[in-house]
């Protein structure tokens, strides 16, 4: 690389990857925290089976996730057919598909750490808050969540990293449409397949630099606490 970046460098895949990973992580954070609390605090029949099912994306190959989304949300499915019929919307070949795929694979990471964090919260603190006439919601927001927060945040950072690197399931669901659904990992895949090694190298370097920056920033954040 004579110049730092070639003048024709296409920023779109990088920006799309950041956007997809951000939205997917937000979804994983909300649902992961809620489910993590549920599994840590509430015993209901089948809870361990449900938790195991939600952890599946961590174990299964991404192609299985991609196939699952195609079957569940594709045009021939009940949900996909309804969306297409009534809203003229389809998740396949849109960047929303990549968000769903990334959120599914990122969810277990938030869920597991949130569940462990909630389980580790000292229940006597919550009891003390209740004696001060705090509502259950107030106890959760002002006592439980702040105490569990470091664990949840650590899981969320892992989830972001995982969402950023998502490839297989996103490719199957969103396709690799340049300037529409082509994320960074897909751009690298396409460049290597087409023998454009220089373009691939530039993308790999850019990805690595950004990933290192995110990891360093998160380490700083945690050591400052």
């Amino acid at each position: 690389m004579p110049d730092l970046l070639p003048p024709s460098f296409d920023w779109f895949p990088l920006l799309l990857s950041l956007k997809v990973a951000a939205v997917a992580t937000l979804l994983a954070l909300v649902f992961g925290t809620a489910l993590g609390w549920l599994f840590a605090r509430v015993q209901f029949p089948g809870s361990s089976v449900l938790e195991a099912a939600l952890m599946l994306p961590l174990v299964l190959p991404p192609t299985v996730i991609g196939y699952g989304i195609l079957v569940a949300l594709g045009r021939r499915s009940a949900v996909g057919g309804w969306l297409r019929e009534h809203l003229d919307y389809t998740i396949i070949f849109s960047w929303h598909g990549a968000v769903v795929a990334s959120a599914l694979v990122a969810l277990p990471l938030v869920l597991k750490s949130a569940s462990a964090a909630f389980a580790g919260v000292d229940r006597t603190m919550e009891a003390a808050a209740r004696t001060l006439r705090q509502s259950p919601w107030s106890v959760f927001v002002r006592v439980t969540l702040p105490l569990a927060w470091p664990g949840i945040l650590a899981g969320t950072l892992l989830a972001y990293a995982r969402a950023m690197g998502e490839f297989g399931a996103s490719l199957m669901v969103a396709g690799s449409i340049p300037h529409q659904t082509q994320t960074l990992s897909m751009a690298i895949y396409d460049a290597v397949q087409a023998g454009q090694n220089d373009a691939a190298l530039v993308l790999v370097v850019v990805t690595s630099v950004i990933s290192i920056a995110v990891l360093v920033a998160s380490n700083r954040f945690f050591s400052l606490r």
Binding site: L70, G74, R75, T90, I92, P178, D190, Q193, A194
Partner: protein, 247 residues
Amino acid sequence: MRKFLIAGLMVALPLAAAAQQLTVSAAASLTDAFKEIGQKFEAAKSGVTVRYNFAASGVLIQQITQGAPVDVFASADQETMTRGVDQKLIDADTRRDFAANVLVLIAPAQGGPELRSLADLSRPDVKRIALGKIETVPVGRYTKQSLEAANLWTPLQPKFVQADSVRQVLDYVARGEVEAGFVYRTDAALMADKVKIALPAGGHAPVTYPVAVVSESRQKALAKAFVDYLRSPPAQDVLARFGFAKP
């Protein structure tokens, strides 16, 4: 101890048998016909196993460039094969055309749009059109030539979904995720219950399949035998049955 010896032998035996293994990298559209031809070739030459690697021709030549251990390369277009010859990856004197095909426009059989001309692709009810990636998939390049000849390439751009191989285009149409796609006639015939052929695309270079021995092959005699076998009557019968034309 004996158990370990037997286990060791069971691991080592397939390696010994692999001495007469022929690796053929072939265009995705040849998948079904080549699997059958491979069985016939194995029956004709005892002790030989044919191992296939199917993908888009552009991906296959890229793998050969990176040193993949391949003996025979069969491409879905002349351009990719010529690129291999230019890079000295292919023995040019073994190159032969062995089949031909037709580019067709297809739509989902159930609920797909009625397409009577290429210009119908501009209609608003055609939202997505699947085609092979221009860089690596020959069917994508044929499609581009065809649409350029009809002055539709630029206006249709926003509707394109580029697929990794012709078989992925076929899958997208069969699943109804796109309203139209460009594949070879032989691919459409494999899913006649799920996709319908609207019309032959036309306006592109003839679709002919060249095959050749890879320069780095360590068993060139066997590779040459496979190349020659493709033009023999038994192999040509199989190709004809799958809908391929003679070159």
